[in-house]
């Protein structure tokens, strides 16, 4: 009998029930070896449900988690190329916050129903997904949340932004789980001042959180396919994500 290696995974596109029971596309990756496993919902960045995001999802499965990324643009652009889908949703004003929460809730419910699910669920997102990870963690009962350079959590957006892109610092009292925040000091959105404001509010509220801001890094420093990639920040960030999920999702 062949023993499944720890890094054997199955990764594929599936359909899950999202906000309002809508059937939406999602990408899942799960370990093949049996075991008790935490689940992670990956929230893709504003440029969409792209190849690099799917690589992140597979990485989490190799690390031992059941992972799923809902396609937040599934309704407006089913089957479209990720960049075309992102352009369509941008032109339509973006993803409404309540729909995002419903889609993450659907993804979390899906993870909870998988064989070996240990009942613990985390959420992680980059860029707009960082803000949405915080939003989800303040709206749903979760066990861990990672905000990678999400803007417009604590700061007002520039003039002309869609009304849906409002600050959500007021939700902080409802944060349901520990929060790991990873930021670049050279980022303008969120700026170091905005990160400090969120940090201070979470401290004031006694909310468990751990923030790291990297020198020489700006926005998107995890994106291996973009010039903003910063290898030292990304490597340290991945190490901290791994430690954080080990602490809060395993068992």
């Amino acid at each position: 009998m062949t023993t499944l290696s720890a890094d054997a995974i199955r990764a594929e596109t599936i359909t899950i029930a999202g906000h309002g029971g809508d059937e939406i596309e999602a990408y899942r990756a799960v370990p093949l070896a049996p075991g008790s496993r935490g689940g992670v919902v990956w929230i893709h960045h504003m440029p969409g449900y792209d190849r690099e995001t799917k690589e992140f999802v597979r990485r989490l499965a190799v690390a031992g988690y059941n992972a799923v990324c809902p396609n937040l643009y599934s309704r407006e652009a089913p089957g479209a190329d990720p960049d075309d889908a992102a352009a369509t949703v941008r032109a339509a004003g973006g993803v409404p916050d309540d729909r995002l929460v419903g889609d993450v809730a659907g993804a979390a419910e899906y993870l909870g129903g998988l064989d070996g699910a240990n009942g613990k669920t985390g959420v992680i997102g980059h860029c707009s997904g960082g803000r949405q990870a915080f939003l989800a963690a303040c709206s749903l009962k979760l066990d861990a949340a990672v905000d990678c350079y999400g803007a417009f959590v604590a700061e007002d957006p520039p003039d002309g932004m869609p009304a849906s892109m409002k600050p959500i610092l007021g939700l902080a009292p409802d944060l349901s789980c520990p929060l790991l925040g990873l930021f670049g000091i050279e980022d303008r959105y969120p700026s170091p001042e905005a990160v400090a404001k969120l940090d201070a509010e979470l401290t004031r509220l006694g909310k468990s959180h751990e923030f790291h801001s990297y020198e020489g890094a700006g926005h998107s420093f995890f994106s291996v396919d973009r010039p903003a990639y910063r290898v030292e920040a990304a490597l340290d960030g991945w190490r901290r994500i791994s430690d954080f999920f080990t602490k809060h999702l395993e068992g």
Binding site: M46, P47, D81, D84, A91, G160, D187, H219, P227
Partner: protein, 92 residues
């Protein structure tokens, strides 16, 4: 940074996208991360027809210098032709 800020304008004409020519109905212009251009941010211009679906799209990702140069070139090209030659109300 994701600026999200999007300028939108109605357009009348055609564009050629991944699936061939299509009638265009609107264009959007915004500064944000590019998908392909080797920069952190670019001026992104999409010529679209939402009624035909997300793939009815011509996309540009330009540096701000070249995007502005393109805008000026459009003005020069139109100014150098007889007034109204390319207008919606042109005589054919």
């Amino acid at each position: 940074m994701c600026t999200y800020l999007t300028e939108k304008v109605d357009v009348d004409g055609s564009g050629k996208g991944a699936t061939g020519w299509f009638g265009a109905s609107e264009a959007t212009v915004y500064v944000d991360h590019p998908v392909h251009a080797p920069y952190g941010h670019t001026v992104n211009i999409d010529v679209l027809n939402p009624a035909l679906g997300p793939s009815a799209r011509v996309a540009l990702e330009l540096t701000e210098e070249t995007a502005l140069a393109l805008a000026e070139a459009i003005h020069r090209a139109v100014a150098s032709a007889p007034a109204g030659l390319a207008s919606k109300n042109q005589s054919v």
